[in-house]
């Protein structure tokens, strides 16, 4: 237990210091790794979003972006945001000193890894996990940051968002999320389940069976927590999935409908129009044209 406490103190102190420096240092940089190919099987790639902070020294970093790969010497007070399925590869130098922290956002857990590299070896590595519970603030900031992949020129906004994200984590380290009640926990598990399975055939009965509860209890839970029924919630996540596919892929509308869990393409188009006042094609065109 003591070791965990010490890790937490160290990571908290380092993070606080980074946030101050990142805000004050005019040369501090925020880089983005976006979808792309790096020709190296050892490049870090996960289906969870991540970011890297360089706290001290120099850390050469290769990362994917639209124009292929980038190779930057990351200096102290700089950060790299790595969208899910984007690549990066830190190249620790033999003689250099580097101190960095990596963050990975799992479904229910935020993992933090602190690394101190010196004299050609890792002299200190510490890890810490924080449960991700309660309001989904980090998830929404990350979603916003992923969109910058398509418009990196609005740099100050991206910077503010990133500062918001690390400030939020700093707060969580000091004020660990409280253990949720069984009801809240069940609700949050069901939401995660719906998000992960929204492309499959899904209804109240299937989810109720999965969690061993009655379909009526699901309705009750959803109205209480979201003021939104099960079907509306499911449609919401399906539409979110469709929007992201419209933006990030060249897939046909009919395929996007199917991949987002709508079995009827026409129904999907009608619903999409109703919710967004635009057809899927208009939505895609508008999105792409705004970044020309």
């Amino acid at each position: 237990m003591e070791a965990i406490y010490l890790n937490k103190e160290l990571i908290y102190t380092k993070l606080c210091k980074f946030i101050i420096n990142f805000k004050q240092n005019t040369k501090s940089k925020l880089y983005f790794a976006s979808h792309g190919e790096i020709d190296n099987l050892l490049s870090y790639k996960t289906n969870a979003p991540r970011f890297e902070l360089v706290l001290g020294g120099v850390l050469p970093m290769v990362f994917s972006d639209k124009e292929g790969g980038k190779n930057k010497k990351m200096r102290a007070d700089s950060a790299l945001f790595i969208d899910k399925n984007a690549f990066n590869l830190p190249l620790y130098e033999k003689t250099a000193y580097a101190e960095n922290m990596s963050f990975i956002f799992g479904h229910n857990i935020l993992g933090i890894s602190y690394i101190h590299w010196q004299g050609g070896q890792f002299i200190d590595v510490k890890q810490l996990q924080i449960p991700r519970k309660g309001p989904r603030i980090a998830s929404h900031i990350i979603n916003a940051l992923s969109e910058f992949e398509l418009n990196i020129s609005d740099f100050n906004t991206a910077r503010c968002l990133f500062i918001a994200l690390i400030t939020h984590i700093e707060y969580h380290l000091k004020h660990p999320p409280q253990t949720l009640s069984r009801k809240d926990n069940l609700y949050s598990e069901i939401i995660t389940y719906i998000q992960n399975n929204s492309h499959k055939q899904l209804n109240r009965m299937i989810v109720a069976e999965e969690f061993g509860i009655s379909p009526d209890y699901i309705s009750h839970l959803f109205h209480e927590k979201m003021r939104m029924g099960f079907k509306e919630t499911l449609t919401y996540y399906r539409l979110e999935k469709a929007k992201s596919l419209l933006k990030l892929s060249n897939l046909k509308i009919i395929d996007i409908a199917r991949l987002s869990g709508f079995c009827d393409g026409n129904y999907f188009c009608r619903l999409f129009k109703k919710e967004t006042q635009r057809t899927p094609t208009e939505y895609r065109n508008q999105y792409l044209s705004s970044f020309d």
Binding site: L42, R50, G111, I112, I115, V125, Q129
Partner: protein, 116 residues
């Protein structure tokens, strides 16, 4: 009918943010290709996930420890066929591991193969 070969694996890398999970994926792909049953425990920055319990271990024919660091609770695998390999080799040359698994399955329980 012959019982499906069952593998257990633990993956762990130094920083625990990516290679641990990438190696787990590579091992799962290997198992699909070879029609093995597999359970991969990851010991990374997200903590220990998909823990292999002693009940599971009993059913397993071979254990793969793909790690760059000492893994937690390694002693639970004594008496089992064990392959030790570094994470890099799993990511760069999975076919080597594939061959070694085939080979160790012919050997006696408790055989250890160290490829690090």
């Amino acid at each position: 009918m012959k019982k499906k070969t069952s593998l257990g694996a633990v993956t762990a890398c130094v920083s625990g943010v990516a290679h641990t999970y990438m190696a787990a994926e590579a091992l799962e792909q290997l198992a699909r290709r070879k029609n093995y049953h597999i359970q991969v425990e990851t010991q990374g920055a997200l903590g220990i996930e998909n823990l292999i319990t002693s009940k599971h271990i009993k059913e397993m024919d071979c254990i793969v420890i793909a790690a760059d660091i000492v893994v937690e609770k390694e002693e639970r695998f004594s008496q089992k066929r064990c392959i030790y390999i570094d994470v890099k080799s799993v990511l760069l040359n999975i076919s080597l591991l594939e061959t070694m698994i085939e080979r160790i399955l012919l050997a006696a329980n408790g055989t250890i193969m160290d490829l690090r």
